[in-house]
Symmetry: none
């Protein structure tokens, strides 16, 4: 079964809201093994919608509409589909009752266009709306399945999940299962990773493997089709082991993991506490950790020392170190990490200093960054030379520090969780 | 000119990310009077993409592609369009140099598929990519305009705004001029702002006025068409004065201003220094300031005091205050602001404490936040009661603190710049 999702609404074409309904429906469909090949967005215009339906019928056997079921003249979805399929619209008694009761309860007068919301395609399976007035519909005709859903995500999401999806599952259950699993990598580029596993990519059939890159991270999405969930997981697992045997050292997590969430999980699991002294990142490192609920078991605090004076007077980096080696130096990062760890009494201390850009800083070119990590009495430093814009450099520094910390902890025998 | 936006990427059809690129491009196109009639999303599949291009050509004269310009085999957009239009792909020397330099700077090996990113459609206007490696393209052929943009929003958005859009404007203006100006507001809801200027919105013809809301901010975009730039600015200026006479007190900036950039401008202009002590935001406040180049003239540093102990021992908030009033209290925020200002010797000190969520913190429900601002010896506090998710609450706290600080500084006679 191949699906197309048609979202109807001029507000989408004006760029006022994103088509998150298509995103939601797609992720739900991929769970049950239905391929989505197209999303379309059409304005509130009957003529263009009619043509879009014809195109969808030429390339999909499941067509899902979102939006255009409301009471106004702009809401044309069911009217257009009714005309196109030559199926009359009839009042659904239950929906009409719901609408009448709603207006009674509100003490408001029901107008004729409110009644319009209770009109449904004759012969369709009416999907009740527990969060709004417009019911949904599911109709089989000419070998195709049409599903109509209301536009507001608060109404669409539960209706799809609890009404439409179970009906689709029973419709297709003679078919198989599709499952996806995402492997997340840091510290390796998309092209380099692909080159390393080129033979696996070239030989892919089932599971398929799709590389994705964003924000300096690379992901591989492994998707398997099988007769059962267990079999699909087995396929995915085997392919995963094959991939990790080659590029496992860059793999930090799976699915919805982030570098920050993996770091926090490791810290909490091994009961390690952390603090940081930040210059160029100015709080971004600690703030990324603080995005993770439960971090208070590991995150004690830290310092933002933006000026030289703050580094000396507040943090206690020795004056001589700064004068001899400069602010953007291995020695400065090392002392920042050591000092903050001691000051806050934590197991781990992080020191970040550098020239974020656009200008050079303390004689060092933009993009020169030093990372210091103190684990117990052991301090290591590493240099980054980045070439992005100021805030990309700041964010990359944070991500790189997290991936470097995870690797150091592993080397010290703290296993990943 | 009627546009269709084609987003290419299987991750969109699997529901892993939403098509926010189409949203961004649509809102930008609506500013310059170009109608968008269709959005389409296609997977990484050459055959289906080719058919989608044919459909788009039958109904649009401006076709904008996002995604599929990367180095991998899945990236097929320009290859498919080249074949379809019978236009060869040629190496763009500038793009090739950028890619080579990038790999040299990173000390990494450039692979053959990285070179592929420098291939462009022959005869196209190459759009430079200042935030990534794949250049964009704009090509006129057969009476149609094709624009190809990279998929990552960080690359696509500036490329569209600063490279593609000006070219489109000169293409469609033919002597006339279209200019837009955005007014930015904080501390007022979209509905409230609209109600206050309803008579202006109702009477709009040229300039047009479009309200937009995002991340707790409200914007008004004023767009004027005229025979000259001067005339267009005159139209915009008059409308702006009319609007600000009513809601001027919520207006903090224009166009690309952010709360952080406006704050930093004010601090630098008035030679004021700032520090912050952060609990729930854990560095996010200072980090937002540090996004602005040149901030080192104002930002000294600060502390992240996540635990109670850090607040007492590192920052110096008196034990009795914490015991008597709790961590999430006016008194705690007040002392955090005072202590950090004294410690770092700055003109302004900020103290942020609260329950970010999802759980209550120190007996206070999630979303309860106290902001303390010390300007000289004067300290004020304010409570926020937010109802969002953890990280929305943290970001709102930062934005609210910035807008509150701007207003306090104005009240003290420091004028906005």
């Amino acid at each position: 079964m191949n699906a197309e999702i048609i979202a109807v609404g001029s507000e989408l074409l004006l760029g006022q809201i994103a088509n998150t309904n298509a995103t939601f429906i797609s992720s739900q469909l991929s769970e049950i093994g239905i391929n989505v090949y197209f999303h379309s967005v059409i304005g509130d215009n009957g003529g263009r919608l009619k043509k879009a339906i014809e195109i969808a019928e030429s390339r999909a056997d499941l067509i899902i509409f979102s939006g255009g079921l409301g009471p106004t003249k702009d809401d044309l979805t069911k009217e257009t589909l009714a005309e196109h399929l030559k199926v009359p619209l009839v009042y659904d008694e239950k929906a009409l009752e719901t609408i009448e009761r709603f207006f009674q309860n509100q003490g408001r007068t029901m107008t004729e266009n409110n009644r319009k919301q209770a009109l449904v395609l004759e012969g369709s399976d009416v999907l009740p709306n527990h969060h709004g007035l417009a019911p949904g519909m599911m109709l089989q005709k000419g070998g195709r399945t049409y599903i109509l859903l209301p536009g507001p995500p608060k109404e669409l999401e539960p209706m799809f999940q609890f009404e439409a999806k179970p009906r689709l599952v029973s419709l297709i259950s003679q078919g198989g299962v599709i499952l996806s699993h995402v492997l997340r990598f840091y510290g390796i580029g998309e092209a380099e990773l692909e080159t390393k596993i080129q033979h696996i990519l070239d030989a892919q059939t089932n599971p398929t493997i799709a590389p994705l890159a964003s924000d300096g991270e690379v992901m591989l999405r492994i998707t398997a089709k099988a007769n059962s969930k267990d079999e699909a997981w087995q396929f995915i697992h085997e392919k995963k082991q094959e991939i990790l045997a080659i590029v496992g050292k860059y793999n930090y997590g799976v699915d919805d993991d982030t570098l920050a969430s993996k770091t926090v999980e490791m810290l909490l699991y091994h009961k390690l506490t952390i603090s940081a002294a930040e210059s160029l990142t100015a709080g971004l490192f600690l703030s990324e950790l603080a995005e993770i609920p439960g971090v208070s078991g590991a995150l004690v605090g830290g310092m933002v020392t933006y000026t030289k004076e703050a580094k000396m007077n507040q943090l206690g980096v020795p004056n001589e170190i700064l004068d001899q080696h400069g602010i953007v130096s291995s020695e400065c990062a090392e002392h920042m990490a050591k000092c903050v760890r001691e000051k806050f009494g934590t197991d781990i201390g992080i020191g970040l200093t550098g020239a974020a850009g656009p200008d050079p800083h303390d004689g060092q070119p933009a993009g020169t960054i030093w990372i210091g990590i103190a684990i117990g009495d052991d301090v290591v430093t590493r240099k980054l030379q980045l070439s992005g814009f100021r805030n990309t450099n700041r964010l990359r520094t944070v991500k790189y520090t997290l991936s470097y910390l995870i690797r150091l902890l592993e080397e010290k025998g703290y296993k990943k969780v």
